[in-house]
Symmetry: C2
Subunit: 606 residues, 2 copies
Amino acid sequence: MSTKEFQKPPAPKAASDGSMIIPDAPPPPSPAEAESLDVWGFRDTRFEINEKDRAIIRGNRYEHSGKEMPRLLPWIRETLKIDLDSRDIFQPSYPTTIPEAFLSQGFMSAIREFLSPGQLESNGEVRMRHGHGHTQEEMYAIKYGQLGRIPDLVVYPENEEQVARLVEAAKKHDVSLIPYGGGTNVTDALRCHSHEKRMIASIDMTRMNRILWIDKKNQLACIQAGAVGRHIMSELRKYGVTMGHEPDSVEFSTLGGWIATNASGMKKNRYGNIEDIVLDVTVATAAGVLQRAGCSPRESIGLDLRRLMFGSEGTLGIVTSAVVKVFPLPEIQEYGSVLFPTFEDGFAFMYDLSREAVPPASVRLVDNLQFQFGLALKSASTGLGKVKSQLERLFVTKIKGFDPFKMVACTLVFEGSRQEVALQQSDLYRIAARHRGMKAGGENGRRGYQLTYSIAYIRDFLMNYYIIAESFETSVSWTDALRLCENVKHRLHLEYSRRNLPGKPFVTARVTQLYRTGVCIYFYFGFYFKGVANPQDVYLELENIARDEILNSGGSLSHHHGVGKLRRAFLPRILSPATLTLKRELKKSLDPSDVFGAGNQDLDIR
Amino acid sequence: MSTKEFQKPPAPKAASDGSMIIPDAPPPPSPAEAESLDVWGFRDTRFEINEKDRAIIRGNRYEHSGKEMPRLLPWIRETLKIDLDSRDIFQPSYPTTIPEAFLSQGFMSAIREFLSPGQLESNGEVRMRHGHGHTQEEMYAIKYGQLGRIPDLVVYPENEEQVARLVEAAKKHDVSLIPYGGGTNVTDALRCHSHEKRMIASIDMTRMNRILWIDKKNQLACIQAGAVGRHIMSELRKYGVTMGHEPDSVEFSTLGGWIATNASGMKKNRYGNIEDIVLDVTVATAAGVLQRAGCSPRESIGLDLRRLMFGSEGTLGIVTSAVVKVFPLPEIQEYGSVLFPTFEDGFAFMYDLSREAVPPASVRLVDNLQFQFGLALKSASTGLGKVKSQLERLFVTKIKGFDPFKMVACTLVFEGSRQEVALQQSDLYRIAARHRGMKAGGENGRRGYQLTYSIAYIRDFLMNYYIIAESFETSVSWTDALRLCENVKHRLHLEYSRRNLPGKPFVTARVTQLYRTGVCIYFYFGFYFKGVANPQDVYLELENIARDEILNSGGSLSHHHGVGKLRRAFLPRILSPATLTLKRELKKSLDPSDVFGAGNQDLDIR
């Protein structure tokens, strides 16, 4: 039987009834969107200690910006049992060392044939920025240590063809390519191998940032992989839709990065995780472009290479665009919060919620230490606000009898139609009451979610005061989750004190996602390192010990951060020998010359 | 950093509170469960024409069993415009030809070391049965034609280790293995290549049919891959849970087959499709056993080989067990149905339903011809039933003014809590009314679903009367779906009449699944072939033309039947050349000597 030849899917045309939309290219980034090279986030925002020895967030971007947090430093001193001196600054010497670039002349002349000079960047700090994500070791290294090998060149392709030609050129001239999105990775996935002898080119995808089309009738959109989360959200919103994917890094991370990392969004209960949202991907691989003639709601068409791209971490190719589901903007969005006397009560509530009701878009439960931390981040109330806040506290602790050193909070985001949200709320608060939960209002819930974005800046601030901290996560069944939290906290405290490290460590957990079959647990771990040699190595050792404890306790290697290089040593423990062998065979078959040489997941095949 | 070694997940122990259950092994199949070798289904059931020239379903297994269908034959004669003579039987000569078995002596002695004689079957009819599924060509071939190469041996492994050793032996002695579950495949995936020179062993998994454990607290179960759908349902039901996966073939198909085919269940709106339900798989591959130390609700652990098993169609390995989600049995189950004046009205209703409400577990919409077919399958009403049925018809056609040659029916299954179902019903009937839908009661809905099982027997019955028929499916966006249905019907009628084939063909469509982004369309196509040479080839040619039209109209190659060998010629049209290349490279890397030599999806690598 003869059949027709493969043809790329045709570009759709805008429909006059607005059902098919071809959005304009987004405007170039404004100066206000400039990002820091040496710390997390936008340049306009940073934590500082002001003249009154109070922590404050500079700038005016976030709800918490410009407000003093009078309780933060005292609380840190008290919790870590340290004498944090705000005049004693651990002065960063960013950028510590920027290696010379090694350029392959063959590759350079090949790519100059189809790229303009403005698409090639050789500046050292930009190159360095493209050689790391945001693990504590990486951030420590660029300021106090040595990052090692970094990309020799940063390339900004502007269309699919350029990406394909870049891959061709790299293959021909033996260059390693590492795709780069928002640079927010937290598993050393962007870090370059020190033993890499080839030229390394970082392929920065952020100029491929268009929403190519929005199909409102079928609730689909095709988006270029370099589009950044905040832009995707704001652009889609103009047309009344949302992709619904909001990881904590949504301000900076990209669609391609989400796919490569197998990301999870805060509102996954309503919209799904990235693998639920993405229907199709186009990928530039060493063998050519993975592409389909069309995409359908659901298919059974055999071995599906598209599925391999989720979690590929730059090792198989470069995602250039994806077809994603979009959803109408919710009729209403409401925040909520509930206080529980103990973490166990809150957890039991979440379990019942997962069984008996449709959970709201997002449900998160913090433990007592994190709850305290949230209070310590509050700005000073004045006047009536102060009275109200004091009265509230009195009611919770005195009347309800909640112990301030045991109580916890659950924050909620409801999205949907008025009717859906009303039903979710009534179900949820009924279940919460059964577990001694006390409604604590939308304002506290909103604050909790908004904090997600500004709190991300605190890590680099604290490092200036000899505090090193980071988060890590896992997923685990309902029945193992509480014991896992206890085990990890206990083990970290034990190992910390065994090493005679300063003061006490900060170890806290929250439940950030719920599934029918279990939860995602997110840990923060930090400590004061003044006088500690190589604190980043000490941190890493302890983090690995925590991971050991997580695996011992039935947790997974990762819920959504991924494996990268940070966690790859644990793979032989969770995957059978045949699985490891076949992963390497698969990598060899799809990329025999290791063009995509990031070497994540132990896929260094050269 | 050193880490621990991989260990198989430990076998769970039963918990005294009933939260962890280790079910007993299922009883051996009873004689009443005997299946036919030459036609679909259980031996106790078949369509026949009785002495009154009326069609009847023999046996008493199904709701429709034992009842005369007085309108069926007249309706077929009228619709196909043929003089079907019930005395003129196209006598099957099953089994037409059973080739001699070719046995590899090395393989035979190797496997006799760990298998008992009762695990090896060389009977010709059994071997032939394992060399096909249920496409029309296959069923025609075993009765009127020539199937060609069939397995030389059928092997019934009883545990994971035996499967692994079988794979080892096949690798060593150059034998091709084809995994076999329920034998219900409809894409020629089980059919053996005529050019296969090696011994072919069919690995019948149905003795690996245990539910290994049920974890009620985390709503999980671990089930061996050879467990048959009807047994999974009845066993799980004993413990108050369900997997919720009910493909049309659920009486016979197996868990392993569902994974290999990327199956879809009738109630996927509530429980998901197979890829949503299965959390983990254990697979015997040519490189060893793919397995993990545990499984978690959701993970980001890099390239995930588990995902490759969905749709692998026997080409990469043998799934031996899977961890699946289970759900509490629904508090209530209710059927429903709605009549619409036209297919377009019903379709518009489904679209709005997908947008505005939580759809019930199952929603199916048949076109007018299929609606008529449903009426023709009704048994004769008598007494009050007859009066009621006549009154109803009068009301629909006279009072409501529905045209009997345009009206269509939508059948519904609601499952969930009383409250959920009540909400779904009120939303649904409100939306239906907006599209001129008329509630037609639970009885008609129930009948529609029950028919799914008994109607499967009609194909082999009709073949005895020179009628060849089969189903095929696709998935397609909402906006392309109606036109696709029209195009396929029109094209088939046109090509049929161009070929001067007898009477008129039967072409009908139903919408069997809805997604936010589109639907699954299921076609039936049949015709009368008396006097037509090689009707199975004519059928195949027309089916391929229909597939061409489906692809032209924006449909997918398959929604849930898969690719197998039947549709593989279309792959180069829907996948880019690089995708095809990489699929073959991937197969070569995971199974270099083609132990899993079924050759589906054009993955014949020898």
